[in-house]
Amino acid sequence: MKKILIFMLTLVMGFMFVNFTIEDKKTPQDEVKSEAATYSVPDDVQKILDNSCVGCHNSDSKNIKGKGKLKFDEFADMKLHKQVGKLADIAEVVKEGDMPPSKFIKNYPDREPTAEEKEKLVKWANEMAKQLTPAE
């Protein structure tokens, strides 16, 4: 009897574990397609942000102008309309080549995003902004 109980318990726990792994394997795109979309950053985009953006755009930054405009560490705490506004702006300034600024690229040439990375960043910001925007 005890053995069966342990067996069943293991089975149940196993099922739960499997469920969690499936949850984890969900791509961020799938996650945000659910009804209440929330701000999320896939790993490959986070890498680009960390390398080329977060240096100035964080609350400990010495770049007053940069952190005044955008602080990634406080992004998720902002109201929805702010998040959307900032994301749409990120897409625009990266696409237009206004960000990262030429001074930053001059000082840190190895941290300039490649064309492919820029495209990935713009796509993410645009899609994220769209998903967070309520229907018209």
């Binding site: 109201k79 309309h81 702006d89």
Partner: protein, 152 residues
């Protein structure tokens, strides 16, 4: 003395000549069905501020002053209006997605509070376009409220 006279003459002639360089001014359209102020019940003081401080470059309702018809000043005026309308045109406000409205409203807050807008070169000749610190704050607060209302 003779050289000075000659220089002045050359200057006058060149100013006259440059008047003939074509410089297409962005068209003025007064009735815009997608206009921000036309379509929204904005507080009176906000509409007045927007009209007086922003609309000359950020709408189709540009009021061209006399000097905007004289080169080379006209070139600068035309460039600023073109750039302004391209960046943000209140005459087409309602034709945008909520996402773009949120983007523009967020930018308005930054630009107005950082005193980048209205441009200092513009307020030199348009004294009534100047915004006080209090007015800047009012405009920014309105932009914040308006953006929030779009997402309710």
């Amino acid at each position: 003395m003779k050289i000075l006279k000659l220089l002045i003459l050359i200057l006058i002639i060149s100013v006259v000549i440059i008047q003939f360089i074509p410089n297409d001014k962005p068209e003025v359209v007064l009735a815009n069905e997608n206009d921000l102020i036309y379509n929204n019940q904005l507080p009176e003081n906000i509409s007045v501020m927007l009209k007086e401080s922003c609309y000359d470059c950020h709408s189709n309702e540009t009021v061209y002053p006399w000097y905007s018809h004289v080169a080379p000043v006209s070139w600068l005026v035309v460039k600023d209006i073109r750039d302004g309308r391209k960046e943000l045109n209140f005459s087409f406000w309602e034709s945008q997605s909520k996402m773009d409205k949120a983007k523009h409203l967020d930018n308005i807050i930054d630009e107005v509070l950082d005193e980048n807008m209205p441009m200092p070169i513009y307020t030199i000749m348009h004294a009534n376009a100047k915004l006080t610190k209090e007015e800047r704050q009012l405009l920014a607060d309105w932009a914040e409220r308006h953006a929030e209302s779009l997402f309710e």
